[in-house]
Symmetry: C2
Subunit: 346 residues, 2 copies
Amino acid sequence: MAHRQGQQRRASIHDVASHAGVSAATVSKVMAGVTTVKPENAQRVFDAVELLGYRVDPLASDMRRAKRRIIGAIVPEFESEFFGQMVTQLESLAEQRGYTLVAASSRESEARETEILARMHDWRVAGVVLAPVRNEHGPAAAFMKVNGMTGVLIDRVLSDDAFDTVSADSAAASAEVARELLGKGHRHILVVGLGEQAATIRARLDGFRSTALKLAPDVRIDVVLAETDVEPLRAQLRDYFAKGERPTAVYSLFLKGTLVALSEFRRRGWHCPNDISLVGFDDAEWMQVTWPAIAAVVQPVRQIAGHAMEALFARIEGGEGPPIARLEPCKVLMRESVGSPGNGSH
Amino acid sequence: MAHRQGQQRRASIHDVASHAGVSAATVSKVMAGVTTVKPENAQRVFDAVELLGYRVDPLASDMRRAKRRIIGAIVPEFESEFFGQMVTQLESLAEQRGYTLVAASSRESEARETEILARMHDWRVAGVVLAPVRNEHGPAAAFMKVNGMTGVLIDRVLSDDAFDTVSADSAAASAEVARELLGKGHRHILVVGLGEQAATIRARLDGFRSTALKLAPDVRIDVVLAETDVEPLRAQLRDYFAKGERPTAVYSLFLKGTLVALSEFRRRGWHCPNDISLVGFDDAEWMQVTWPAIAAVVQPVRQIAGHAMEALFARIEGGEGPPIARLEPCKVLMRESVGSPGNGSH
DNA sequence: CAATCACGAAAAATCGATTTATCCATTTCT
DNA sequence: AGAAATGGATAAATCGATTTTTCGTGATTG
């Protein structure tokens, strides 16, 4: 761990200045690419920089600046494909603009979310992409407002009076799922979800229900909504089926719910789509290689990330005007896990 | 976006000092929790801090410090469950010690890896957890050495002469897979992998092959190794099967390979385990809810993260001694996708 | 030929803290 | 009583840059 090279102090602008025989101010100008420096001196500075392996110290450099070329990203978790792809996209887009993305996860805690935000504020980030734990009305968004931070809210949000928002058009996608399922003849459908993420889940549920009822007023829609965690949902679902309920299709409003549903089907020996149909919000790579392939609503991650960054940079560069709420269309992939009721063997 | 509060300049230590009627030095001491301050003055400082909403500016505060309470984490990608869980764990462990974790992804590029590392060095991180793209001999580890950075290498590494390493015991896990498959009677096995990640993939392949050959010298082991990307692997695999090769089991050395194998099986209408058996390195949540459940090697993410952070903090706190290479044991879950050859219908 | 400009570079102020050196009152010791 | 020690606070130096101001020199102009 101890190395000759590593021991010596990092070269400062003054070291470069004295090696090049100029003042620190001149070095600073050369590094900034200012043209009012005699080419000869500039060259000596470049040589000294090369020789000493000098790099501008961002801590010192940024101290006088109001904002740094850093974008903060806060997501509820890193463990899902969705947020993993989201952070990857955001990171790549930030890099393209010469910004550095600093990512952190709130791990589904609003308190942590606000703490991270405060820290990012201390770091003077130029802007923040926040995927709130719950919705746009939490303490984190409030903190951003009070402190005049620049930011964009994504995913579990609908619209806000202070920040631009970008999210998947959950309601429209749910409506399409409703059309598909009813079109196949389903008249008893179970919807499973997790309540905490209010904004999105509500949109998904309402979008589904209203469209379904419009198409077939006699349709029966059961809802199993857990408050916070996955395990209670599993228990509730187990109870539901244990009571003898036999919907012909299940629509899961989020990925974990799809997994829970599948594992319950498995436990009971039900196969898709013969015994029951299944559609889930959120696609995953594995869903197209399983038997059956699982039908899913694909969220447009790239579009959400792209428009979020576009909106954010527009604000960073001083863009004015009322906040814009974008809804990006989803794609619904009806795979083999969905069939018509009554084709099964039970 | 414009708010009264947000407009006004952030309070500095001097603002607090003048409000409290003391010097900036005194404020600094109070903030640092030094006891040699008259309680009365300390109280006035606290009041002023409260009133002005003062927070220490980390940029200024850290400027004189050699190291900041920041840990950098660099992973090859954010999109897999494995690295998602890893970053989550690392973040949580850093938080427990009062450090902030800054995560970034190299997106499978060694150049980017080194750039990120240089940036983190500029930020004076206290230490780095690096999951290198390829192995411990890349430019990133070299950079860390030259610059005397404190760090730990994880995942795609075996051991290093400068840094502690922590990774899954790929060889042992592969050996166990070999025992399981041979025990079930398999004598023609295909191993699929991606070559770039040299360190790990090689260990997995060698561990499998040596054990298999020891147990049954007559076993036939085919290997399909793609260089860099997934699509070439898919093509190679397709060719392999098209030639009429019919191994009775496939062992995939990494998650994406498992997906590729499954999708090829699907294309050809083969079912596990009747037509062919499948085991994959890397577990995922969905593998236990599909039909059949997919056998997998579970990497001990928590242990790897835990020991990596332990080792890192030991070094940060000045721990000396030669670098330690840890191998964490994996668990092999033999699920339904593995059976005995010849039980099938083809 | 003296006065004004332009150019390039250096000196000094600044950013917001921390830390060292100093200073002033008391209190304690001889 | 005078010297030394102590507690508590402040002034000043420092970290490593950027930015503003100042300065000197040579070129242009009235």
